[in-house]
Symmetry: C2
Subunit: 205 residues, 2 copies
């Protein structure tokens, strides 16, 4: 696995290409040029081609890419052609909104359980069980969950992250406004809403 020297950003863009391809598929387009796909994804065509060559050769010179096959190849590369179980920890405002947000499922992720210190009765519209934090470790081990969404307050984020990792979680999508300290074989993507806003405010005159 030469996963190590492929730019992180290329992997991100792969997801974006994937989404554009899906849209093309819906519109019954079956072939697309790097030029056209790149435009839809908001990047240069050379970048798209370079991104793809990290993983192999998927196009036909003179013609372009087959939408179906490129899409399934990218799916394979991203490792989500099978449904991936995910747990969510911290059922506050944001946490419960994410639980209700169905968008993950069609992208290949299934939130199989949510955990909270106060395991409130799940809302009528929720099918996902909200369980006590104390049962998290065994649940993760039993269901071999590798991914987690972290929506707890900043003060407990590190502690919960440690527990997740100890139980076997390898990737965390972190919404808590904290820098998590994790072993190097664990990946964290942080989404910090305040930081995003602050960043924007720099650019307005």
């Amino acid at each position: 696995m030469p996963r190590i020297d492929i730019p992180r950003k290329s992997i991100y863009r792969l997801s974006i290409y994937q989404r554009c391809l899906q849209r093309l598929k819906v519109n019954h387009v079956d072939t697309v040029s790097s030029e056209a796909l790149a435009k839809a994804a908001g990047v240069k065509s050379t970048q798209l081609r370079k991104d793809l060559t990290y993983f192999g050769q998927f196009g036909t010179r003179g013609l372009g890419y087959n939408v179906d096959s490129l899409s399934s190849t990218i799916g394979e590369v991203l490792g989500h052609n099978r449904l991936q179980p995910v747990v969510l920890v911290g059922v506050g405002n944001l946490g419960s909104a994410l639980l209700r947000y169905g968008g993950f499922r069609k992208e290949g992720f299934e939130v199989v359980a949510a955990f909270d210190i106060a395991p409130k009765p799940q809302g009528r519209d929720l099918t996902i069980p909200i369980l006590a934090l104390t049962t998290m470790d065994s649940f993760i081990k039993e269901h071999q969950v590798k991914m987690a969404i972290l929506t707890v307050p900043a003060t407990s984020a590190q502690e919960v992250a440690n527990a997740l990792i100890k139980a076997g979680v390898q990737a965390i999508l972190n919404f808590s406004p904290t820098v998590l300290d994790v072993p190097e074989d664990v990946v964290v993507n942080s989404v910090d809403l305040a930081v995003e806003l602050e960043n924007l405010s720099y650019f307005i005159r």
Copy 2:
């Protein structure tokens, strides 16, 4: 304003330093070295120092940085020492969760109004008015709003973005899973939850 050749990522990190400084302030620490602050922010000390020099010299050699003054300098640079009004468009699951999420206010942002095609009666716990999309343009102009949070479905994202920009919005925090096409004097930060998850799934073995 030499805003143009300062790495975007440096600006992001500024926000993170800011948060760490805030924490130090609470703990009554009044001086910090680049080494210590960098560690808290999860970066190398040279990077922190380089980031800061884009804006000036704020430290004392042999000693470090004054927490208070560095924090207020960064606040100035990021342009949010005054309260910044923000509108939110699209009061679905995610949108209403963000409305309830109070975290923005203490970072200097105030969500002054929310808009939706179907202006549902605002929940009992919400003080923010939820208005009809048709009133958005005049509201934004009247209140001179420069920033918006976009939480509408992908299908209407571009259209709503156009309307926001036409009304005078200069920065958009976009949660819709779409690539927005905007004029170059408008900044967009996109948070795409599915892309973040997909990206993580690449890294788990």
